[in-house]
């Protein structure tokens, strides 16, 4: 009997340890990527997708959607940062350009990263950015200023009951994180 159980114990324990290792890996290789994919695809949390490639050019002139722009600051981000245009009215399908204004108020060179978010979050998957300053980190020399460009298209499939979309950018100080100019961060 001792023989049989000793072997059994060894196999049981080995299998369970394998489960533990698998569950630890599960967090990193399944949960994290799955969460990011789901948020992107479903627009959860108002996350917007990456750069959008225009495929067809239908402009729905029968509808007008109001798009509002907002700027937020993360904790001690000392820059001046605001939209140059706070509201535009657009037809779904039409490409529109607006700019944000940024000024580094500090006596040192800094790098910022803007993170977009869309409200209502249901609209996020219908809000496409073809050009966005948020695709890259934004370095500004001490006291420097810049107009930051954004080109977007509201998808003609936007649900009919949505009349207003608010796009917010939160700007973060990433000077410490910024390696010598990597231009494609995982910003979305």
């Amino acid at each position: 009997m001792a023989e049989r159980t000793d072997k059994g114990i060894f196999y049981t324990a080995a299998k369970l340890m394998a489960v533990c290792v698998a569950m630890f890996a599960f967090v990193f290789v399944v949960m994290v990527p799955l969460y990011n994919v789901l948020c992107d695809v479903l627009g959860i949390n108002g996350k917007t997708g990456g750069r959008y490639e225009v495929t067809e050019n239908i402009i729905d002139t029968s509808r007008t959607v109001k798009v509002q722009f907002v700027a937020n600051f993360n904790e001690q981000m000392p820059w001046e940062f605001k939209p140059n245009t706070t509201v535009v009215k657009v037809h779904p399908g039409e490409a529109t350009n607006i700019t944000y204004f940024a000024r580094n108020t500090q006596p040192r060179d800094m790098v910022a990263q803007a993170i977009p978010s869309v409200v209502p979050s249901r609209a996020a998957e219908y809000f496409h950015k073809t050009e966005c300053f948020c695709f890259n980190r934004q370095p500004l020399v001490a006291g420097g200023e810049a107009d930051l460009g954004l080109q977007f298209i509201v998808d003609p499939d936007l649900p009919k009951d949505i009349h207003t979309i608010t796009l917010s950018y939160t700007i973060f100080d990433v000077t410490e994180m910024a390696q010598p100019q990597s231009d494609s961060v995982a910003a979305r």
């Binding site: 159980t5 369970l16 630890f24 967090v27």
Partner: protein, 524 residues
């Protein structure tokens, strides 16, 4: 293998691989943590005795709520049940010891250093963890005190300990049952622990993953939880609660097992619906994996998500209600007597059900927008964890203490402990339902004047409950030193199960030859 006794001196405890020794150490360790976590609670309730800031700084108050939760969940409740498992599972299935005795020694002995490390953070620069026992990022990353690294290390170690303990328990139950002890003859305490151990193996690594990601965000420049680098703080909450909700069942399932042993004994009737108890426990465990986001209704989930998690959560009430039904039906028309373990068990059934009802209220997504992060949640989880886990643990100690020590505890003192605990507990936590519904937020050192009366009641109740635990300690110590000797193997006349067939007190080595399991000796 001769029936030799334990080694002498301190090394007996340091090197022991005996399941009874290790069980005893777990139980004493958890009681020490219970007192430590309890003293943190006393500080919290003293500060909240009156509105305004009187006794501690708000920063320190935050450390107290955090450490209270961490120490109670990971230091008191979990090790207490692991200790109980060590003592009782081999005795209940007719095994000579745990399957992996050397690992057993390790899984206990890494715990005290882990908690010493955690406690020492209170004296470090910037103080100890202050971000709540749920340690949400970015509070626990970007804004954390420097000591957070030690906290992470501590969580890693205690997670390792729990995993090793769980593997050991499963290996024991699967491989070491006496001939004839089939799965469906196992006592329910063994069943609930088997399922609990599977939950532990599945989710403790997830907790380890969560703290590892924190560590990487803090020290290695990753951005799992930082929006600036493309991460997301909400991700933290998903990972944490994917661990966290199964964790609350890890805490309560062994308690379910304990009362399922005790109620039949003092009702002098077999447990009603044994099979359904097993299936209910298994379904609760399964469902616990798909309800985690009921802790996150307010993060801005899509409506479909809110609905899914709401209905899934409410579904858990069904198997839970089946268990409550079975306990009550076991008592129905039984010849009941009300010794201390039975009193605690009946109170468990009653008060845990109250906690289940408030859980159902919280499960309603639109209602939870109001209840979330208020004292209503605090009331809910103390009804489930104190009246659930701790009451069942107290019941277990009174029930098996005579078997462990060969001496009878003082029944009057035991009953006094029960009634004082019962009154103190309800006085503490029942009013918290009201202040919670009226909007008092949790984890805040000061509050609106209108909550003053209920908070004073809560604090008085907490002091009463706390004091009654000292009586408990005294009773246990007095039993060991001066208790009335007993030698009846059965101790309780209505008891069933293999643990009551070995002599009292249980000898150092039991079942070195496997027992003959008769139908009647199994779960009864």
């Amino acid at each position: 293998m001769g029936a030799h006794g334990p080694a002498k001196g301190l090394t007996r405890w340091l090197f022991t691989t005996n399941h009874k020794d290790i069980g005893t150490m777990y139980l004493w360790f958890s009681f020490a943590m219970f007192l430590l976590g309890g003293s943190f609670a006393m500080i919290i309730r003293a500060e909240l005795f009156q509105p305004g800031l009187q006794i501690v700084e708000p920063e320190f108050f935050n450390q107290m709520t955090t450490m209270h939760g961490l120490v109670m969940v990971f230091g008191a409740i979990m090790p207490a049940f692991v200790g109980l498992a060590n003592w009782m599972i081999p005795l209940m299935i007719g095994a000579p010891d745990m399957a992996l005795p050397r690992m057993n020694n390790w899984s206990f002995w890494i715990l005290p250093p882990a908690f010493a490390l955690l406690a020492s953070t209170l004296f470090m620069e910037g103080g100890g963890p202050n971000f709540g026992w749920t340690f949400y990022a970015p509070l626990s990353t970007t804004y954390a005190p420097p000591s957070v690294t030690y906290f992470i290390f501590g969580v890693h170690i205690m997670g390792l300990s729990s995993i090793m303990g769980a593997i050991n328990i499963i290996a024991t139950i699967v491989n070491m049952r006496a001939p004839g002890m089939t799965y469906m003859k196992m006592p329910l305490f063994v069943w609930t622990w088997l399922i609990t151990a599977f939950l532990l193996v599945a989710v403790m690594p997830v907790l380890a993953g969560a703290v590892t990601m924190m560590l990487m965000d803090i020290h290695f420049g990753t951005s799992f939880f930082s929006a600036a680098g493309g991460g997301d703080p909400v991700l933290f909450q998903h990972v944490f609660w994917f661990f966290g909700h199964p964790e609350v069942y890890i805490i309560i399932l062994p308690g379910f097992g304990v009362v399922s042993q005790i109620i039949p004994t003092f009702s002098r009737k077999p447990l009603f619906g044994y099979d359904s108890m097993v299936y209910a426990t298994a379904s609760i465990a399964f469902l616990s994996f798909i309800v985690w986001a009921h802790h996150m209704y307010t993060v801005g989930m899509p409506i479909a998500g809110e609905l899914f998690f709401m209905y899934a959560t409410m579904l858990i009430a069904v198997p839970t209600a089946a268990k409550v039904f079975n306990w009550i039906t076991t008592m129905f028309k039984g010849s009941l007597t009300f010794e201390t373990p039975m009193l605690f068990s009946i109170a468990f059934v009653f008060l845990f059900t109250v906690g289940g009802f408030s859980g159902l209220m919280l499960a309603i997504a639109p209602a939870d927008f109001q209840y979330h992060d208020t004292y209503f949640v605090v009331a809910h989880f103390h009804y489930t964890m104190v009246a659930g886990a701790i009451f069942s643990m107290s019941a277990a100690v009174y029930y098996w203490l005579p078997k462990w020590t060969g001496k009878m505890y003082n029944e009057t003192m035991g009953k006094t402990h029960f009634w004082v605990s019962f009154v103190g507990f309800n006085l503490t936590f029942f009013p918290q339902h009201f202040v919670g519904l009226a909007g008092m937020p949790r984890r805040i050192p000061d509050y609106n004047l209108m909550f003053a009366d209920f908070n004073m009641m809560s604090s008085i109740g907490a002091f009463i409950y706390g004091a009654s635990q000292l009586l408990f300690l005294f009773n246990v110590v007095r039993t060991i030193t001066h208790g009335e000797k007993i030698d009846d193997p059965k101790v309780w006349d209505g008891a069933h199960g293999l643990e009551w067939t070995v002599p009292t007190p249980a000898p150092y080595h039991t079942f070195t030859t496997p027992p003959d399991v008769k139908e009647v000796e199994a779960h009864g």
